[in-house]
Amino acid sequence: MTGARGFHGGLRLDSHNERSTATPIRSAQAPPQLVLPLDQHAGAPARPLVRPGERVLCGQPIAEPDGAISAWLHASASGAITAIEPRPAPHLLGAPTLSIVIDNDGRDEPFQSDCIRFEQLAPSALLAHLARGGVVGLGGAAFPLGAKLASAARAGAIALLLNGAECEPYITCDDMLMRERAQDVVLGARILLHASGAVSCTIAIEEETPHAEQALRAAIEAAHDERIVLATVPNIYPGGGERQLIASVFGREVPHSGLPADIGVLCHNVATAAAVAQWVRDGRPLTSRIVTVTGDGVHRACNLEVRIGAPIAALIAECGGYTPRVLRLIMGGSMMGPALPHDDLPVVKATNCIVAASALDLQPRGGETPCIRCGDCAEVCPAFLLPQQLHWFARSADAAALQAHGLLDCIECGCCDFVCPSQIPLVERFRESKPLLARAAEQRADAAANRARYQARNERLERLAAEQREALARRRRPQARAERETK
């Protein structure tokens, strides 16, 4: 076991985990209709391969990647495609996005995908096969697995890090996955090791998760793979953030504006590894995931295995419905998760947790008072920023100063918000200011393009004028000679 070195800042929060870990993972009932947004992964939206009216099988590819950073999408039930139209999406907070709608016929006829013995494939062939499984980063960012592996292979990543440190309060889907499907996680680790060419794999979990640790230890022993080791990190939020976890486990910082691959690390969520194992071993693409449904606002909090595209309302019903105390619906954990406008939204690949929050789950928030410059925010900031300074620059919309003070390195973890004695909604301000920096960069790019066109035009006009002068001189010369000869 590797000793934990820790990272800067962070908070020890009440995890609220016991609420949803009392019962094992259950399979949710298949809903009558599934809605699959085409842009539920990071990068370019997928391109549909089917037409309305067509019949699809469970696990059949229904959309293909469009560009280098994009992902496959598979039908999560058998049935008829009824529409390809804009539907409200949870990752856009209820704004509509182009989605494929499938009417579930309830027969679950499977689509035949290949089951692979991964040891027999060359890493490059395995990479291509992995991309076809539609697997994306299941920790929340939904970055396409194929694109991440390809970029890591280019950078020459040597250490694989599987992130099982679920630091955010309420989320327990990875904890339950490691308890019940540890062998899938370990098999996924071996597949990812083979595909990426990394030489070691560290599975990082939080302290105080004895069940998951026990299960993983047994699975690693059973796999007889010495490259895989287990590491525990302190239960400090946001210790499961990619950069924070790398600092804790390897004691190295990912360079600012760089990627983990720059220091030879390839980081994946444990659920991503388990999804990889299911795709390679069973030929089952990413059509379902584990979602934690919890909070004081539902009757029976638990972890559900849910088909991608199932409505959130069905999940709530599966958990006994809302309690009268429910106030707010949150997708993700209580620190970073966005509030959803309603529950008629589908589960997407990035949906790890639904919190139906009551007043007990929400931190009471008083009115904002002026900053007293206590500096507590800087002490808890895991990105080494000075939130109190950024706050002033955000108020004066000073793009240059925000850039210089590293606003873009803010991971929006909410620690500064949480400790602020003046109750200033710092993260909200920072989130609003980020587009300002993007606009400033855009303006600079536009100005450079304008100048280039202006200079090109001036050069062209000068050249044309010079050519004209020369042509005129050529025409005059024979004339002058002729005049001399007549004299």
Binding site: D14, H91, A95, A357, L362, D417, P435, D446, R451
Partner: protein
């Protein structure tokens, strides 16, 4: 005698030094050119000539020489004035209304195409090659490349060019997950 020699030597050295520094003043040094570049980088590059100079680079050169004030660029607005003032160590002042007013939102030229007679005068006036067309054929403005400099407007003999708010291009998209409701865990 030696005193006289020393005096002579000293006057000689000063004369040579003076000549050298005069030459340096005449030739723009590398540092001066760098300053012009840095000023030019702060300007919006609309090439509108509202500052009365022949383009942004000329204004930057005049600023570097101390022949112009920092508040002569209406398209740049307060932000550019502040940046110029900070770079040059001069007091920031509001944009002088004699040079024009800062538009509340980005504007681009728009040609009323049925009215266009295809005279190419606006194409010749456009400093950034943002108008396409040919003699006796309809002209049109490439909105993404137009800087809103207004130089094409007086050149049009049939007054068919007007300024309109810039179209929102596809670059501005809602970022994933924003804006979220900030909330902490209780306890």
């Amino acid at each position: 005698m030696s005193l006289l020699l020393a005096l002579l030597l000293m006057t000689g050295v000063t004369a040579v030094g003076g000549a050298a520094s005069a030459a340096a003043a005449r030739r723009p040094t590398q540092r001066a050119a760098d300053l012009i570049d840095r000023i030019d980088d702060l300007l919006p590059q609309t090439q509108c000539r509202r500052c009365t100079f022949d383009g942004c680079r000329a204004y930057a050169t005049a600023l570097a020489r101390g022949e112009a004030d920092v508040n002569q660029c209406p398209p740049g607005g307060e932000r550019t004035v502040a940046a110029l003032a900070a770079l040059l160590g001069r007091p920031a002042r509001p944009v002088d209304p004699r040079f024009g007013v800062t538009p509340a939102q980005p504007l681009v030229a728009w040609i009323d195409e049925p009215a266009c007679i295809g005279c190419t005068k606006c194409i010749q006036a456009c400093p950034v090659d943002a108008i396409v067309g040919a003699p006796r054929y309809m002209h049109t403005v490439i909105a993404a490349e137009c800087t809103g400099c207004e130089l094409c407007i007086p050149s049009c003999p049939v007054d068919c060019i007007v300024l309109r708010p810039a179209p929102v291009d596809g670059r501005v998209q809602p970022s994933r997950g924003a804006p979220r409701v900030s909330m902490g865990a209780a306890g």
